[in-house]
Symmetry: C2
Subunit: 351 residues, 2 copies
DNA sequence: CCTTTCAAGCGAACCGGTTCGACGATCCGG
DNA sequence: CCGGATCGTCGAACCGGTTCGCTTGAAAGG
């Protein structure tokens, strides 16, 4: 069932059918209706490959999501869902690319073989070959995340530095003096994964400003690792009374570890961090956290990409989001740190 | 950068380049190397649209995941991830289709416009227009899930009936006599969503066989709904001592509700169900549950689809999985049901 | 009545690959 | 030395759309 068949049955030429469909030239009402009738009758739809070949656009965008770890986190799902939906409203399909390793096979497929008109990159690293590579090629892409040199890029990002710092200040304001940081897995931190690096940086800086005693940890993306990490924290420094985490997958394990160590949240121990709102509300007590607006970020990324596709020479734009901390139930004033090994004095209970 | 350019620079014809690349006819070592050098130098990759047009295959499969609710569950992410990875090993890309509503726009795009060679359908309903429609068209697709008439279909499914029944028997064996069922949201149940229907059926039948007192509930896919649902359960029948759930997103809320009602898990109340293993391990105490092998299901679905694409007239195949219940920490012997309103006798503590 | 204008439609070329039939060169056996 | 098989390569057609330039017929204008 191709356009030639339609043309034959409607008694017109192929080009007339094409123009009737696209509206790029005038077609008399009479023939338009005749064509439309045939199309409806046969249920014809123009072949996407042929169309893509002819006009050089595939109406597809690539969503490059990476081999971040051995599995995916809930946040990624929110991104994927919102990107797909936003793309659909613009009549674009979304092609998933399982990996983002530079010069990787599947990456080559997307770009080299021109399967997509543009791409959205997830899981950005501070020094990201993929971003640099695409920028050098002038290939339309939008990053969900921000590299170390975001000046001339298109991206929508989260200010992880500010967010982690806000968490620290929140804890400091509650009187906590000894806190820990539970980061994403070590490999991610080492490879310069943006949120891990910037989060750590914001945490460290804000803690220094407030004169807090800190320890920082990396933690696998699963509950068991979270629990182990928490045990390590209490072992290394029993006086710890609070922690900040970026690791939503470990959250359940962290809570379990606290329960088993008899640290009641938030009476004995405060927990906060940067996670997707849905996760924050899943744990008990619900997590006071900077909620990652994944849905909004995905939508905005698509919007930026659409803009860029429409006007290839537009000047780079970006959105840096700083969601507020949602006060829930997992943080409270510092009480007796540890097992009363330290007096209950919170020297600088500011603000 | 197209095949003609390569041909020109290598001093051969376009067809020779094509044959050198595909190997479908012999090309002398000499010219092959000459061509390869040019290709490497220019970084040429054949255009996917043109190739798809020429040989009628897109090397893309569609993953139809539906507007199940207002958001996606963790399980879906696991499916998506495993499907994408499995497809990649077969040199296939995955196109995401946000919806599965029959005769829906995005569905039409995938099939009508021939963007994909085959499809994997998620979130199957017992009477599923999509499946029927595709079957009528003879379009290669594999369902993750099983309709009411799975005889001549390609699918990989979970025996939700057996799984829910196993949960019930597990609880009955522990002496529980009054249990509840927490299903997915009501709209899903009403529209004939497979797991909701079959799970409910298995629960009901097994409970009847064991002579248990039951109540069944639908529950929104989020923690707040889970908590509300649990409160309702205890309000309706305080003697309830256990529940079975299919709703992993509500799990956190259920636990919270239990904690607030002072029902200790598993001492006072047992919880079990059918959820992804990762979620089961996130809550405390960890959930005794039939772990949904999402990763395996996605992989098998892709394998079936590949088989079907290779041999269009192959006879339908399927996999019905019945994962065992993983004993963790959320179930235990029935103690004093409710607040000791009922004596602690478990009349039929069968094997 | 003759020219100009314009709407409507047609044919051909093109997008970038794949594939089929043909053709010249080389090699072999008789 | 000739005839047929084999190898390597080429040209052309094709996949199913889009788009440009041209033709035609009718209406409008002088």
């Amino acid at each position: 069932m191709n356009i030639g068949e339609i043309a034959k049955r409607a008694g017109v030429s192929r080009s007339t059918v094409s123009y009737a469909l696209s509206g790029k030239r005038t077609v008399s009402d009479n023939t338009r209706q005749k064509i439309q009738r045939v199309i409806d009758e046969l249920g014809y739809r123009p072949n996407a490959s042929a169309r893509a070949l002819a006009n050089g656009r595939t109406s597809t965008i690539g969503l490059v999501f990476p081999p971040a770890g051995d599995h995916y986190t809930g946040m990624q799902l929110d991104f994927i869902g919102s990107v797909v939906e936003a793309a659909a409203t613009h009549d674009y399909d979304v092609l998933l690319s399982p990996s983002g390793v530079d010069s990787d096979r599947s990456f080559q497929r997307l770009l080299g073989e021109r399967r997509v008109d543009g791409a959205i990159l997830m899981e950005i690293r501070l020094e990201d070959d993929r971003v640099d590579h695409l920028a050098a090629l002038g290939f339309p892409c939008v990053a969900i995340g921000r590299t170390a040199h975001p000046e001339n890029g298109w991206w929508v990002g989260l200010d992880h530095t500010a967010l982690a710092a806000a968490c620290v200040r929140h804890l400091a304001d509650l009187g906590h003096r000894t806190i820990a940081f539970v980061n994403r897995p070590e490999t991610l931190l080492r490879t310069g994964y943006e949120s891990a690096r910037r989060g750590l940086e914001g945490f460290t800086k804000a803690a220094a400003e407030r004169g807090l005693t800190v320890r920082t940890y990396c933690c696998g993306d699963d509950a068991a690792s979270g629990q182990a990490c928490l045990e390590q924290i209490l072992h290394d420094e029993p006086a710890t009374t609070a922690l900040v985490t970026l690791n939503e997958a470990a959250l359940g394990g962290i809570y379990r570890g606290l329960a088993q160590a008899d640290r009641h949240v938030p009476r004995d121990f405060s927990v906060t961090g940067v996670v997707a709102g849905r996760w924050a509300e899943t744990v008990t007590p619900q997590l006071t956290a900077a909620d990652v607006p994944a849905e909004e970020m995905g939508r905005r990324a698509v919007e930026l990409l659409m803009e860029r596709l429409d006007r290839p020479d537009a000047t780079p734009r970006h959105h840096l989001l700083v969601p507020p901390i949602s006060l829930r139930a997992s943080t409270g004033p510092a009480g007796l740190p540890g097992k009363a090994e330290v007096p209950a004095s919170a020297p600088f209970p500011q603000s």
